[in-house]
Every structure is written in C-alpha cells, then in structure tokens.
C-alpha cells in the first residue's frame, strides 16, 4: 500500500498514515486542552445579586456550596459590593452551587453551577435574584 512509488515524499506518507495522524491529533488536542485549563483555573466565581425589582443589592451574603460525596456543603461566603457584584477566589471543585440572601430582602434560589474542570473561572450570566422579602 505505502510501498508503491507514486511521487510523494516519504515524510509526507508517514504523516498521512492514519496510525500516525490520529494519535498526533489526539495528543495535540490533549496538550491544547491542558494549556487552556492551566490558564483558566484560578477558581474565580463571580456574579451579581439583584433584588426582585432588578436593583443591585449591597451587603447580601453569598454562599458557595461545594459537592461533597452526597450533599452540598457551604465552603465559603462573601458579601456583595455596592454594585451588587461578588467574587469568590479559590473554588476547588467542579460541581458547586451559589445562593444569596439578605435579611429583610429575601433569598435567592440555590443556583447550580457545573464546570468543565475543577476551579474553572466562571462568571454567572444570570444574576441571583432575591425574592420573598418583607
């Protein structure tokens, strides 16, 4: 098969051989993926908290829950800034939830976040909404 003499240089034939091409592609994908992980795994989880009317909430307590074998356990908590945003720094896991609450303004649902790899940097697209306040 590869010993016919058609005008194709040997290195090219070697490269296009399926047994070389497929592993090479797989290795390249693996290396690329690992590079992506290394540059994006600071464990940052960021988002915003809004109240039922849509206004940013300052001083709401945001909790980070981490999956631990069978249930979720609170791992860290932080407080929102004046513009309603919050940020966690060292999320260790790939399966987390965040929830927010502020006494008097209600609480938000626990939002599950699934990451592609542990400590992936993640920014919530939908803000946490507080409902049920008095």
């Amino acid at each position: 098969m590869s010993d016919e003499d058609f005008p194709c240089p040997r290195w090219k034939r070697l490269l296009l051989n399926q047994f070389v091409l497929v592993p090479a592609v797989l290795i390249l994908i693996t290396i690329g993926w690992n590079l992506w992980i290394v540059t994006h795994d600071h464990g940052i989880v960021a988002g915003r908290v809004l109240d039922a009317a849509g206004a940013p909430v300052e001083g709401a307590e945001v909790k980070l829950w981490v999956f631990n074998f069978t249930t979720f356990v609170v791992k860290a908590s932080t407080v929102t800034r004046p513009d309603g945003s919050f940020e966690f720094a060292n999320n260790p896991s790939h399966n987390i939830q965040v929830s927010a609450d502020k006494p008097g303004m209600g609480r938000s649902a626990r939002v599950p976040i699934r990451l592609y790899f542990a400590s992936q940097d993640f920014v919530l697209t939908d803000p946490l909404r507080l409902t049920g306040g008095t």
Binding site: F19, V22, H94, N95, Y116, F117
Partner: protein
C-alpha cells in the same frame, strides 16, 4: 445464478445492525443526559444533553491514575509480545531437533485457558515478588500462541529465494531477520500489536487477582468498583463506560483489517 431480491437481505442485516448498536446508543444517550435511570417511559432523544457527567467521573475516582496504569501495562505487554512472538515465530520456521515436540507443546498450551491457572499464577507471581506491580500485571500476557503462529505464517510466506539471495550475499542470521523478514512481516506485527492491546486493555480477572492497592488498579477494575460504590443514580457510571470503551472502538475502527486478519489467520492456521 438466478437473481433474487436484495431488499430482504438488507432488511435482515439492518435489523441485526440495529440490535447490535442499540446498547451503544442507549448508553451514550444516558451518559449525556442522565435520564432513564429512574424515569419511565424512556426518551429516544436525550433532553438537555450535558457533558458534565464526564467531568464528574474524572474527579470522582482517580481516573487519570487508572488510565495511566492501563496504558503502562498495555504498552509493556505490546512491546514484549511483538519481540517474543516474532522471535518464537521465526525459530519455528527453521527446522531443528525437537521442533515437533515444541509445536505440540504450544498447541496443547492453547487448550489451557487462563481461568484454570489463576491460583498457581497468583502464587507464582507472589513468590516472584511481583504482586501489585506493573510487571506482575503484564507478565502472564507477554506471549500468546495465536500471535506466534501469525508470525510463523508470515515468515513462512517470505519467498525462499530472497533468503537464499541474502545468504549468498553473506548476511548473518540476525541481519537476515532484521533486514529481510521483519519488513515483510509488518502486517503480522500490526495484528499482534492490536490483538495484544485489546486483550491487555480489557483484561479484568488478572488485575483483579494481582493487585492489592487501589492505585495500581487498571481501568476495568476501576469501572467495576465505581459501579459498586457509586449508586447509579446519575449518568456518571455510563459516562465512565463510554470513556472506557472509546479507545477500544477507536483502535478497532482504525485497524479493522489487521484485527480481522489476525483473528482468522491465527485461529484458522493450516
């Protein structure tokens, strides 16, 4: 030959292919959507597909470690297999005193299935101090009789004239093997690589017996353990199945011809 309608043949074959493929599709679907674990009636198209079960599997068990173990053992097995089987196959093409006895010995060894040797194999490996080590895991599979005969058939097919010409040119035995016979035995080598990889990658019973510590386990063991300690209420178990099946399927699709050729030629040796 009378022509007969083709469509019943296609129908039967399509039905069979469907039956053969449905388990794959079903597992793939569940690994992506996590349904059909508890829901009834099941859906054909997955609702809400997500790849996060694969992530779960990666972190729930030391998948990378198991993968590495499997790879190391397989590579060792393949390397040893190619070298030992080629050597044995070559020596069987020469005539020497005692060849008949050796052939009979090899054929009768084929009749001893691995499962009848597990107890002494475990004891021997223990005595050699190789339990729970890569070498101990790979050693029983270092040479297989089917592959020896594949090499033998391939070497037998080298035309006598080539060998004689090489002898006349003054090449030593070693050089003849290396320069003349091995290049012509490429397909036998490919067959051997693929068969020994599949057998070693899929091997479950021997690693089950020969490993003691959890971090020397190979992928099949990891899969069986995962099944028992993780209740299968998520798609994670099936994601693990897919991750484990993928290399085998990929290799098979790449190397079908060698695979089939090896099985049939080695099995239906003359």
């Amino acid at each position: 030959m009378k022509k007969y309608p083709r469509w019943p043949v296609h129908l039967a074959l399509l039905a069979t292919s469907f039956v053969m493929l449905v388990p794959f599709y079903w597992v793939l679907k569940t690994s992506v959507s996590g349904e059909n674990i508890f829901s009834y009636p099941p859906n054909i198209i997955p609702r809400d597909p997500n790849p996060f079960y694969y992530v779960d599997v990666w972190y729930a068990i030391p998948f990378a470690r198991f993968f590495l173990n499997s790879v190391v053992v397989s590579v060792m097995t393949i390397a040893a297999n190619v070298v030992l089987n080629a050597m044995a196959g070559y020596s069987l093409t020469q005539s020497f005193r005692g060849k008949g006895i050796v052939l009979m010995l090899l054929l009768s060894c084929m009749m001893i299935p691995f499962q009848t040797t597990i107890i002494p194999a475990y004891l021997i490996t223990g005595k050699l101090g190789l339990l729970d080590s890569y070498l101990g895991l790979a050693l029983p599979m270092f040479s297989t009789i089917i592959c020896i005969f594949v090499f033998k058939a391939s070497f037998d097919a080298v035309p006598r004239s080539l060998i004689d010409a090489a002898k006349i040119d003054g090449l030593s035995e070693w050089k003849i093997i290396w320069k003349v016979m091995m290049p012509l035995a490429k397909s036998a080598m490919a067959t051997n690589v693929i068969l020994s990889f599949i057998w070693s990658w899929n091997n479950f019973m021997w690693p089950l017996i020969a490993t003691r510590s959890a971090d020397m386990q190979t992928l099949p063991l990891g899969l069986a353990r995962f099944m028992s300690y993780q209740e299968d209420s998520t798609g994670a178990l099936y994601a693990f199945c897919i991750m484990v099946l993928a290399p085998g399927i990929l290799l098979f699709l790449l190397a079908q011809k060698e695979f089939v050729q090896g099985l049939t030629s080695g099995a239906t040796k003359g």
